[in-house]
Amino acid sequence: MVAKNKQSRSVSAIFEKIMPKVLLVIAIISILTTIGIVFTLLSETIEFFKIIPFFEFFTGTVLKPLGDNAEFGVLPLLTGTIISSTIAMFVAIPIGLMTAIYLSEYASERVRRALKPILEILAGIPTIVYGFFAFTFVTPLLRAIIPSLEPTNILSPGIVMGIMIIPMVASLSEDAMSSVPYSMREGALALGATKLEVTWRVIVPAAMSGIIASFVLGISRAIGETMIVTIASGSNKNFTFDVTQSMQTMTAYIVEVTGGDAPAGSTLYYSLYAVAMTLFVFTLIMNLIAQYISRRFREEY
């Protein structure tokens, strides 16, 4: 009764043949997405560089995209991006790492299981919410401490970005540290080491590649973060290293220029793509570095 039931065989045979191909096509969509990104960015970026020389773009310290004598130097945006990401990492790296250490080495299992999901809420809060938090809470707070701080400045969004990235750094570092075998801890404790000495001289070095990868991913995240800086750092295209001032990042520039729906065909329009391309390359490099580190330096305990 069963074995004779041949009629469905042919149907399932067809599925059997086409499904791998269908799935391959689906899997290739992810590649197409990347190609799509690179292609859209590249084609308009090339147009841009036909108008503004490559060299001028990357060495120009003035960005004045509108008006009669427009200038397109990306350095103000690059410094804005780098400074905000650096500030973010100054917050996220120590606090994230210390959080990871606490959760992985000091906290009891119960505390760990309670704290971790709460921390992860921080990572899930929409960045727009952080943006207003930076602008309406952190900036006034900081201005009480640093009176010279401008109401829009790069410091406050930098700090808030750091807070947003803490859970990412903490979670990835904690994973790296938890995967150091327990016998390492035993080995060190048996020599009379305190918990801190075990952590600092054995666990952290052993988990270093995972920890560094988490930092690099955090930096990449900070570089790509948009709404926080857009809202809290204003739209001043300052070329400066003074963190109390308003600066614009690459991402915030893109938001400003696209504002509603960027006009096609102008230099301004092309500059959007040139900046986006620069941003894309930056984050891509960061991601590749992170992958390289975690692959290359994977510990074999």
């Binding site: 009891s108 016998s183 390492m184 080995g187 060190a188 048996a190 009379g192 080491a193 054995v202 070095p205």
Partner: protein
Amino acid sequence: MTVSTFTANSAANTVKDKTESKKGMVYNTKDLNLWYGETHALKNINLEIQENDVTAIIGPSGCGKSTYIKTLNRMVELTPIVKISGDIQYREKSIFDKNFKVEDLRTHVGMVFQKPNPFPKSIYENVVYGPKIHGIRDKKVLDQIVEKSLRGAAIWDEVKDRLHENAYGLSGGQQQRLCIARCLAIEPDVILMDEPTSALDPISTLKVEELVQELKKDFSIIIVTHNMQQAARISDKTAFFLNGEVIEYADTDVIFSNPTDKRTEDYITGRFG
């Protein structure tokens, strides 16, 4: 040499080895009980361990050997659910005393584990880890410690040219001897070894066994082993554990040639375990 043997059923008594009173006593365990949550893992242990002896602890799997040896340096307390009653005196001080810091205890009492567990650092860094955390910074002194400890662990010749290579490049047996060297570097008084050779090949095992014989000149050694032959070969005294109790504790020759308890005999002759 006469030895008073001991069976666990008369648990309140303490083993005393009167003939060797010239030797000091490093550990004195008194009415020790230990629970993992509800599991009663050690029951009324009373044991005296002598200086410069190799004391072997044998018994079937799960009888509490590891638990006991980890209690001696209080590593067992890393498991949060552990509860302990009774006392252990190390050199006449209770190890559970508030003023006696576990870190101090563990500086006096080194430990070697079943699976070699070097740190993922260079050989040199492995050995100096202990001295460094205890505050020795002088490069010369550290170099001396490294050489002395590696020689002490009979591995100096094999690694002296590659001190700054990663310890993971060593074979299992070499790693275990490195762990012993790492332990020697803090110049302990007692060395605890929990089945130090069970993860090693026969040749490495032999080397470690020879090493233990060597080390007993300077250290008191307590060694857990599954391997009866090993216990017979290298130890002076043997304690036989069963279900968390010490069934018999005596000179190794006595235990192996003339055990008092039927269960000891059964175990030694391979009838269970």
